[in-house]
């Protein structure tokens, strides 16, 4: 097996112009989408996915990964300038970032955000490159019971993405699992297809995600007046942005510490950027001389969350690639995009097809440089564009989602599927049912069921194998711990809220 360094060097020399161009396009769209509140990394990816159908794998994946990283980066811009976090990952940035803007130091804050995002993201991608393969090599020893355990581990993520209402989140996830079993079963029966041949291979995830993410957001957006708070002013100044970039280097220990926190939180499935940013923000208290003053406009309060949220993205990719289970909505889209290119993720891929993955990851690293430059220019130029009215954006999102649903395999039926899930998702979001939980369920449903049935057939219905085989036993225990701990954390948070 070649060393990781050789792989990186090989990938670097294989990078071609086409892939780089698409990567730049992805970065630009990612920053723009992330900047617009209401459009998060997941939605940017869903909307970009149809563009990749006819691309080469490395261009497609490179573009999606670049957009994925850039969206979180873009979200910090609107958090700082408009006190409206563009994505969940930049919620913590808004506290000190916007306070800085009010003090007239918005430009410096933008510079700091750009530079810390760059450093944090870069750090996590390096960890990704080196940690991915050992994890995958270990995962190669897996049989059906272990895969079932992994699927259950994936299902356990649902408990932590469930949102405010745990039961609703779990129910949404379980419904997703159930929908995932529609189609032909392992023993050859047509289940719930109602004679429709498009359903024989199951409910396709692409239109379902278009519906649950893109359409639902469009339906929610149309009733808002504008995507951002009105009446916020910002004077642009290029020099001050660059000054901000420089300030970041004075806080380098905090940058690194936050990047480590972000990466670790990102590796844990279900946690992701929106939790990482708060975890790092809390840590930034230790790095300030005057902790209570945080939130009134301190540079540390921007450095920490920005470094962490981008690091979390790289961390999440480790689980996505090495185990083939999605840890968040965005990585679920990435996995689907991979399967559209006939790539099955999981340990097999990383051992045999490592070249397929290294090049996009190297592109992701390059995209951080593009992001740094484009981001600074973009944030300099953007201020006026954010006032696009929602009644223009929403119809456009719908058309894009429909195009994507159709183009996926050329069936009008998929557009109706998307509309069905769009309406379903809208009602779900009205009643606090988690849509991410349902998508995760939908993706994991087939895998969970098939591995369970396979185990049952191979071990003649003896399910004690799950606990007698060490790896599957450990993974199952971890899953249970992860479910219980996320429920406990949630209960604690609620109690604290009630106490306040």
């Amino acid at each position: 097996m070649e060393s990781t360094w050789t792989l990186v060097v090989q990938a670097l020399s294989a990078v071609n112009l086409e892939a780089v161009l698409w990567m730049i396009v992805g970065t630009a769209i990612g920053i723009f989408g992330g900047f617009l509140p209401g459009i998060n990394a997941t939605m940017v990816l869903v909307i970009l996915m149809p563009l990749t159908y006819s691309m080469k794998l490395e261009s497609a994946l490179g573009m999606l990964l670049a957009a994925y990283g850039a969206a979180v980066f873009g979200g910090s811009g609107s958090a700082i300038l408009l006190n409206t976090p563009g994505t969940g990952g930049s919620a913590a940035t808004a506290l000190d970032g916007f306070a800085l803007t009010q003090k007239g130091k918005g430009n410096q804050a933008l510079g700091i955000a750009s530079m810390s995002s760059f450093l944090g993201g870069f750090f996590s991608v390096i960890v990704l490159l080196f940690l991915m393969r050992p994890l995958a090599a270990f995962a190669l020893k897996f049989g059906p019971p272990e895969y079932f355990a992994i699927a259950i581990f994936g299902v356990s993520i649902i408990a932590s993405v469930a949102g405010d209402d745990t039961f609703k989140g779990i129910m949404a996830g379980l419904l997703g699992l159930l929908i995932g079993t529609i189609g032909m079963s392992l023993t050859g029966q047509m289940r719930g297809t109602m004679g429709n041949m498009y359903l024989a291979s199951g409910v396709s995830t692409v239109p379902a995600m278009m519906g649950l993410f893109a359409l639902t957001s469009a339906f929610n957006l149309i009733n808002e007046k504008s995507v951002v708070h009105e009446g916020t002013q910002h004077k642009r100044n290029f020099k001050e942005i660059l000054e901000g970039c420089w300030i970041t280097f004075k806080h380098i220990p905090l940058v690194i510490w936050s990047a480590i926190i972000g990466t670790v939180v990102g590796i844990l499935p279900g946690a992701g950027a929106s939790i990482a940013c708060w975890a790092a923000y809390k840590e930034s208290f230790r790095f300030t001389k005057n902790p209570p003053a945080l939130g009134t406009g301190h540079y540390q309060g921007v450095v920490a969350p920005e470094s962490a949220n981008n690091a979390a993205q790289g961390g999440a990719l480790i689980t996505t690639f090495a185990l083939g289970i999605p840890g968040s909505g965005a990585s679920a889209v990435l996995l689907t995009a991979l399967s559209l290119h006939n790539v099955t993720t999981g340990p097999q891929l990383l051992v045999q097809g490592i070249h397929l993955i290294t090049e996009p990851i190297v592109l992701l690293m390059l995209s951080f440089f593009v992001c740094l430059v484009l981001g600074i220019v973009f944030e300099y130029a953007i201020s006026g564009v954010v006032n696009v009215p929602t009644n223009v954006i929403a119809p456009i999102i719908i058309i894009l989602a429909m195009t994507g649903s159709y183009a996926f395999r050329g069936a009008l039926f998929d557009c109706f599927t998307a509309l069905f899930f769009g309406v379903l998702g809208y009602i779900m979001s009205r009643h606090n049912y988690s849509r991410v939980a349902m998508v995760l369920g939908l993706i994991l449903g087939t895998m969970t069921e098939q591995e369970l049935v396979r185990t049952s057939i191979r071990f003649a219905g003896d399910f004690s194998v799950f606990f007698t085989r060490p790896i599957s036993c450990i993974i199952l225990v971890i899953s249970v711990v992860s479910i219980v701990s996320s429920l406990v954390v949630k209960a604690k948070r609620e109690r604290r809220k009630a106490a306040e």
Partner: protein, 176 residues
């Protein structure tokens, strides 16, 4: 008296949540019974059965939580129930639609999908954009602006998908 108590209870109940959860439960049950009636139930149900029972458990808890909450609130609350006046139905409908523009989008979207077969993708998309923007009051209803924006968007779509990426989109009787 009993009637008033019941009305108060209903007014605190999140009716749409209960109905929605009920519909989800029913859908899951129909699917479960359907799979049970198929051959090979022991393999087919291996996963679906526990999954269904868990859904039923969650659904019942969600509904029960809301009912208990509503009952507790109704007990604490002894205010009069305000009857909503039925005057000016048209005005109320308009106010409702102003707050629920997503319904317009959903209906238009369904209509668009139905006419795609005849009109082709690009014409339907254009009509959808114009109708959706006009009805939701974009650009203060200035139709010329809406037409131009819609045309530009469809043109970009055509160039991106039809020309650059060679993705096949549905053609209508007009041939594009």
């Amino acid at each position: 008296m009993k009637k008033i108590k019941f009305d108060r209870f209903i007014s605190h109940l999140n009716v749409s949540l209960v109905i929605f959860t009920g519909v989800l439960l029913c859908a899951a049950m129909i699917y479960y019974l359907h799979v049970r009636s198929l051959p090979n139930p022991e393999d087919n149900l291996l996963f679906i059965q526990p999954c269904f029972f868990a859904i039923a458990f969650c659904g019942i808890i969600i509904i029960a939580k809301d009912v208990i909450k509503a009952a507790a609130k109704a007990k604490a609350d002894d205010s009069e129930i305000v009857e909503k006046s039925d005057t000016d139905k048209a005005g109320r409908f308009k106010a409702f639609m102003d707050k629920n523009k997503q319904i317009i989008l959903m209906v238009l979207c369904a209509v668009m999908l139905c006419i795609i077969k005849f009109a082709g993708f690009f014409i339907s998309a254009f009509l959808f954009l114009v109708a959706a923007m006009y009805l939701s009051g974009a650009f203060n209803g200035k139709i010329v602006k809406i037409l131009i924006i819609s045309f530009v968007i469809v043109l970009i779509l055509y160039l991106a998908f039809g020309v650059a990426l060679q993705v096949k989109l549905p053609v209508g009787i007009l041939g594009f």
